[in-house]
Symmetry: C2
Subunit: 289 residues, 2 copies
Amino acid sequence: MFEQLGLIGCGLMGGSFALALKQAGLVKRVVGYSKSPSTTERACQMGVIDVAAPSALLAVSGADIVLMAVPVAASEATFKAIKHMVTPCMLIMDVGSTKGDVVEAAARGLREQVGSFVPAHPIAGKELAGVDNADAELYVGKQVILTPTEVTLSAHTQRATEVWSALGCKVVQMSPESHDAAFAAVSHLPHMLAFTLMNSVIGQSKGASYMGLAGPGFRDFTRIAASDPKVWRDILQANRAELLTQCQHFRDQLALFEAAMLAGDQQTLEALITQASTARAAWRMNQLP
Amino acid sequence: MFEQLGLIGCGLMGGSFALALKQAGLVKRVVGYSKSPSTTERACQMGVIDVAAPSALLAVSGADIVLMAVPVAASEATFKAIKHMVTPCMLIMDVGSTKGDVVEAAARGLREQVGSFVPAHPIAGKELAGVDNADAELYVGKQVILTPTEVTLSAHTQRATEVWSALGCKVVQMSPESHDAAFAAVSHLPHMLAFTLMNSVIGQSKGASYMGLAGPGFRDFTRIAASDPKVWRDILQANRAELLTQCQHFRDQLALFEAAMLAGDQQTLEALITQASTARAAWRMNQLP
């Protein structure tokens, strides 16, 4: 049970965490700060936060748990802004989709208080961002990746595990590097490919009429292309080394398809599709191997 | 109102057409043929067909409407098998995902009877194929593309339009070439990219553990990768010229992302994502521009 959650960023991810914590009876009070005053106001109206703080620093003041739910590129500035109120007993977490850059930002921003920070990535989201879509059930049944480093206080890692577990999440621990390599492959690259497909189609003179014919396969494949541009610019940029590696793997595999089609090699073509189809049919979300 | 539907191929697409036609009261009797006797038997049990025919030729005998719902690669052999029973008043349609190759197969297979054939592509499907998943509602609200050529009897094109409209479909007419170019862009390429992503991930030593972390974005992006290998081998191969062109467009667009990331050019990166995101957010299925 926590006394006070300091929430920095009251959007979908942060707002949902506050609601979930309240619903589970795990926090007495939520003090929230958002860059946009209208967001903070709305969060108050909705009961997502109890008190609006005028700054990130004051949102943290007196908190025993802090969630930083801001764009990853804003991490370092946020850590610096709150540093003077951070205490060793305060558990600080983020929700960013990349971890290596956030870990570095925490080291630079929190300095000797960095042990309080447990990097976290809940694998949850919605197409519709913003506090209006905050949902106490958003995290239920989802995976949360924690990427503590050698400077993280292990008591905090333990508490972070307990909090997310209490919200119904499956908690997985790994290094920031392993996290970023994995998510480059299964999240960041698919987003980049979905963006690329959209740009490829609309860049053609008949692109608009082509899209008018598209069906459910196109709908699902491109759903993630509607994601927030600033959020995804930051993610792609932050994880660019791993992402470029994954992109090269992808190009190599794509070349196998192209070569098989050019050669009219139906056997290879079928083998390539069978491999993909079998793997996808066997895959289940949230099941670690 | 038709007297008798000759159904060749009693799987998901063919079975659903028979059920829809019956439900709409548009046909008195369905005579069905499938390569696999167990499929025909199951189709009889389910009431999808009324009579099982021992051959494609005998399924066509006496029919005034014929639906050929077989893999596209089997088109020419099927046209040849039924040719001797085809009459000028018989309306013949297919449901293939490619049209140029089917039009050529019809010309070679049906010869002087080719005027009876109206090439059709209903934009509908399910992940689960087979007669067990046949559904009278499968085509409701979906688009159907008809690609008649200069040899198609216009009365048949008219009747084909009426039948699909009566089943609740939106009928669109275009040339086989335009069809194949459009579907290379919005269906065949996305399938190939989804297959490629699966192969790219599972081809890495840590691929299985990466996939264990994948979330809803990966799930939707790769859904079509579970498609039937033989069906998609045929589609990719049949439409390979258009598909290779689309693949090159895609590679060019992907290179823009890679270059922006390598250069750390956040402005270009954001502009690329914004373009994709805006286009996807504005897109609505089944709305022609």
